[in-house]
Symmetry: C2
Subunit: 322 residues, 2 copies
C-alpha cells in the first residue's frame, strides 16, 4: 500500500470526479457501492503492474479508475442478478434503491469507463477491456447455467471462474504494462499473473463459503449452498458421492428442498460430506496451484519490492482462506 | 430501403456473426430480440448519413451494427426495468428467460459493440458512442425519477427524451459522417438532424399511447397512463388542470389508484381531459416542430435522393402518429 498509496489516492479522486452526473441519484448510488470500498484490489493490480515494469507517467491512474468502474458496474448487476441484500455487511444498492436504478447506474458506469478509455486514447487498452467485458458477461451467464445443476464439472467451473473473475484481473495487470509500452512477452507475463491470481482468488472465495474457521468467527457461511451454486468444494464431493450422497446434493442444490428453513441441518451434513471426501483440502490445493502459477508468471521480471509484494499477494489470496 | 438495402443486409450479417458466443444462450436470447426486427431505424440512419455525404467505403456497415448492438442492449435492460411482458406483440426476453440473462446479455451486447468499435479503429467514434451510452443511462434514470411525479415539467420531459432516445439517433447520424471523414460543420448538421428526429419520434410515440386512432385500430393504448409515466400529453393537461382535475391526475399517475382493475374508466376520463385542454394537438404540434428542425438541419447538403428520403423520414416520424 505504501508503494502505490499516493497513486491510489489519485485513482479515488478520479473515480469521484468521473462518477459525477447532473442526475444526483447516479453519484449517490455509485458512491454507496464504491465508497463501501472493498480492497480496490483490481485497480491496485494495474498500479502495481505499471510500477513493476518501471512506468513513470500517470496514465495508470486513469486506467486503474477504468478497471474499478467496470468492476463496480458488474457488482451492481451481480447483486441484481443474485437478488443479494448485503455486500460486505452493508445493504446492497438494489436493496436500498431497487433493481431499476442499479441496472441503469451499472450501465452508466460501464459507459463512463469507456469514456475514460477514450480520454486515455489507447485502442489497445480499449480492445483489452471491451474483450474482457464481453468475456465477463459470458462467464456470468455460464454461471447461471451451471447453477442448480449437479452435473457441473470442474472444467465448467474453471471456465466460469476464468471468465467472470479472472478476465478482469488479467486485463487489469496487462494494461499496466500497456501503459508503459512494454513488449508483448512482458504483457503476456503480466496477464498470466493476473489470470492465475484471479482464479486462485475466486477458488479461495468459494472455499470460504464452507470454511469452518469462518463459521467459528461468526461469519455467515453456506450462501452458495443455499443458492445451489456449483463451486469447487461441492463439485469435488459430488464427483466422489455414492448414490445416497448424490441424492442429498440433488435435493439441496438442484431442488433447493431443505430440511429446515435456514438449511442449517443440510449445511451441516454438506460439511460432513466435504470432509469425508477431502473436498476442502483438494480445493485449497487447487488454489495454491494457481497462486504458484501466478508467482511463476513473474519470473521474467527482475527482483524488486513490487515483485515481492505481488508474490505475497498471490500467497495471501489463498492464505486468507484458512 | 432500396437505396441502402444491400448495406442493411450486410449489417444484419455482421450482427449475426458478432452476436456469436460459445454460451449458446447468448445468441439465442440476443437473436430473439434482434430478429424480432423492428425497423432497424437507428442503423439505417448511420447508413443513410454516410450515403448523404457521399461515403464509398464499408466502415458504415460495422458502425451501423455497433449502433444496433447498443440499441438492443438498452432494450433488454429497459424491458427488465419496466417489467415489460411484450415488445412489438412478442414475449420479451425477460418474460421468456427471466431478468437475469436479460441483464447479462444486455451487458454482453454492450461490450461487443465496443469490441466492434475497436475493430473499426476510430477513437472519435468511440468517444461519440461511449458518451451517448452514458447519456442514455442518465436519461433512463432521470425518467425513473419523473415517473409518478405530476410536478414533472416539459423541460424535464425534453431532458429525458433528449437523453434516452435522441442521443443515440444523434450519434447514429454523426458517426455516418465521421466514417466519411467529413468536416465538423457537416458532422454537427448530421447530429442535429438525428437529435431533432429522435425527439420528434419519441414525442410521436408518446402521443400514440393516447391515440384515439390506435384505439380504433384495436391497438392497446394507455400503457404509459397505467405505469404513471409523465409524457408530454399528460404534462400539457396537468399544466392547465383545475383542482379537481389535478386530484384526478395525482390519484392515477402518482398513487396509481384506479377505479377499475384495467383502469378503463380512468383512461377514458384522462382522454376527455386531454381533449378538453387540446393536449394531443399541442403534442403533435411540438413533434412537428422537431421534425421541421430535423429537415432544416439538412439544408447545407445538396439535394439528392437520400436527402429527400431523410426529409420524408422526418415527416413520417410524426405522421405515423395520426
Amino acid at each position: 500500500m505504501d508503494l502505490v498509496g499516493e497513486d491510489l489516492k489519485q485513482v479515488n479522486q478520479t473515480i469521484l470526479d468521473r462518477m459525477h452526473s447532473p442526475i444526483a441519484l447516479i453519484p449517490q448510488l455509485a458512491g454507496h457501492i464504491i465508497a463501501a470500498g472493498g480492497k480496490r484490489l483490481r485497480p491496485l493490480l494495474t498500479l502495481a503492474a505499471a510500477k513493476l515494469v518501471g512506468y513513470e507517467g500517470d496514465r495508470h491512474i486513469t486506467l486503474a479508475a477504468c478497471i474499478e468502474f467496470l468492476h463496480t458496474a458488474t457488482l451492481l448487476h451481480d447483486d441484481v442478478v443474485d437478488e443479494s441484500d448485503k455486500r460486505r455487511g452493508r445493504d446492497t444498492a438494489n436493496a436500498i434503491w431497487g433493481n431499476k436504478p442499479s441496472v441503469l447506474v451499472g450501465d452508466f458506469l460501464f459507459a463512463r469507463s469507456f469514456e475514460l478509455m477514450v480520454q486515455d486514447g489507447s485502442l489497445e487498452v480499449m480492445g483489452i477491456l471491451s474483450r474482457a467485458s464481453a468475456v465477463i458477461s459470458e462467464g456470468e451467464i455460464h454461471q447461471l447455467l451451471t447453477a442448480n445443476n449437479i452435473e457441473t464439472t470442474e472444467t465448467d467451473y474453471l471456465d466460469v471462474v476464468g471468465a467472470k473473475t479472472a478476465a478482469l484481473f488479467a486485463a487489469a495487470t496487462r494494461i499496466g504494462g500497456v501503459a508503459a509500452g512494454r513488449p508483448v512477452a512482458e504483457l503476456d507475463a503480466l496477464e498470466a499473473y493476473g489470470r492465475n491470481l484471479g482464479i486462485a482468488f475466486q477458488i479461495a472465495d468459494d472455499f470460504l463459503d464452507y470454511s469452518a474457521r469462518e463459521a467459528e468467527l461468526g461469519k455467515s457461511i453456506g450462501d452458495d449452498f443455499r443458492d445451489g451454486k456449483l463451486t469447487l468444494p461441492v463439485i469435488h464431493a459430488i464427483a466422489q458421492a455414492d448414490d445416497e450422497e448424490r441424492a442429498f446434493w440433488a435435493r439441496c442444490l438442484e431442488e433447493q428442498d431443505f430440511s429446515d428453513p435456514e438449511a442449517e441441518a443440510d449445511l451441516a451434513h454438506a460439511m460432513t460430506l466435504l470432509a469425508r471426501h477431502d473436498a476442502l483440502k483438494v480445493t485449497v490445493a487447487r488454489a495454491h496451484e494457481y497462486a504458484e502459477a501466478a508467482r511463476r508468471s513473474l519470473d521474467m521480471f527482475p527482483d524488486s519490492r513490487v515483485k515481492t509484494i505481488l508474490n505475497e499477494v498471490a500467497d495471501f489470496s489463498v492464505a486468507r482462506a484458512y
